[in-house]
Symmetry: C2
Subunit: 196 residues, 2 copies
């Protein structure tokens, strides 16, 4: 098991066969040293890709993204789930359906921070049905920038998000890939970690 | 001028005498190296305080908080502005009025991550009227934990948030303290930066 798989087994709570709660280090409480390790691992996988910007989405993507950004020495933009009163001009937007919350949200990023010609790494905490990932990809495509790939902390490989991204020709790197969750435990697909 | 005051003068946009937009490095796009500098500065000011936990609020507080957390080697908890479906049990809550958005939000944190006996440093991006800061303080007080103080990135010293916190006996450390904003420029109160 890699360092993240070990942490998921130790601290993750399986709420159902499809819902995993990892609020002790990722989604509510953040373990900074551990997030730095995650960020560096994602950065290492894309270090030859000449990334110029990282795009993530509030809130749980921010911590792994800033550590990857520090390692790659590039700025991080976090897409917003709600419109801001002080951010009204020049917005890129896309619609994202949340299976967890069963609502459609509009996500947005300012076009001045995501421009044509940029080489973008998209980072998020989870990949499940791929809705958030595809929404973030749409923002990058609308900007005319290039998507170098996705850096995902935890992938639910038993859902179809990864395949949707692969079908569009995107590279997907996930630090932990869960093939099954049950009261008996969690099964992972092989995922080689380079940096630890 | 310290490193943050310089950055605010270079990149901040004054939208009105009370509204400053710093979305190029703090509120939408994040400059990771700069945020690390901010986080370390806040951490240094509290390094003798035996902090055991950092509390912030999504989303813009997360980046400075994780870097301060890394420096102090403590976990970071980010309070949520919306209730999560997978976080329903054991919630500490308080109400926060947003002058910018003119709505009252309930903010929350899981009680298991904020416990009696902890020594908490509260970090946020802005201090204006102090509503968010007082809401975060209420979460810590409800948990029976101790508030060691506040670490603020940008303080609008012409508003009354700082005084409200001081009146309650809290220590407030702000990296930049703005006394006035006008089309002619920004005036800062003296704020000594130790770490740079």
């Amino acid at each position: 098991m890699n360092f993240l798989e070990k942490k998921i087994c130790e601290e993750g709570v399986i709420l159902s066969p499809t819902v995993l709660k990892v609020d002790s280090f990722l989604n509510h409480q953040i373990d900074p040293l551990f997030m730095q390790q995650i960020g560096c691992e994602i950065a290492n996988r894309y270090k030859t890709e000449k990334i110029t910007k990282i795009l993530t989405i509030e809130s749980s993507g921010i911590a792994p993204a800033v550590f990857a950004g520090l390692e790659l020495d590039v700025p991080v933009v976090f897409a917003r789930k709600k419109k801001s009163l002080t951010l009204t001009d020049g917005l890129l937007t896309s619609k994202v359906y949340s299976f967890t919350k069963q609502v459609e949200n509009e996500i947005s990023a300012a076009s001045k921070f995501l421009q044509a010609g940029e080489r973008v790494l998209i980072i998020d905490d989870f990949l499940a049905h791929g809705e958030a990932a595809l929404g973030l990809a749409e923002l990058v495509n609308k900007a005319g920038a290039h998507i170098c790939g996705f850096g995902i902390v935890i992938e639910k490989s038993f859902q179809d998000g990864r395949q949707k991204l692969i079908d569009k020709g995107y590279r997907v790197e996930s630090i932990a890939r869960i093939s099954e969750m049950s009261p008996e435990g969690i099964t992972f697909l092989k995922s080689e970690v380079l940096s630890s």
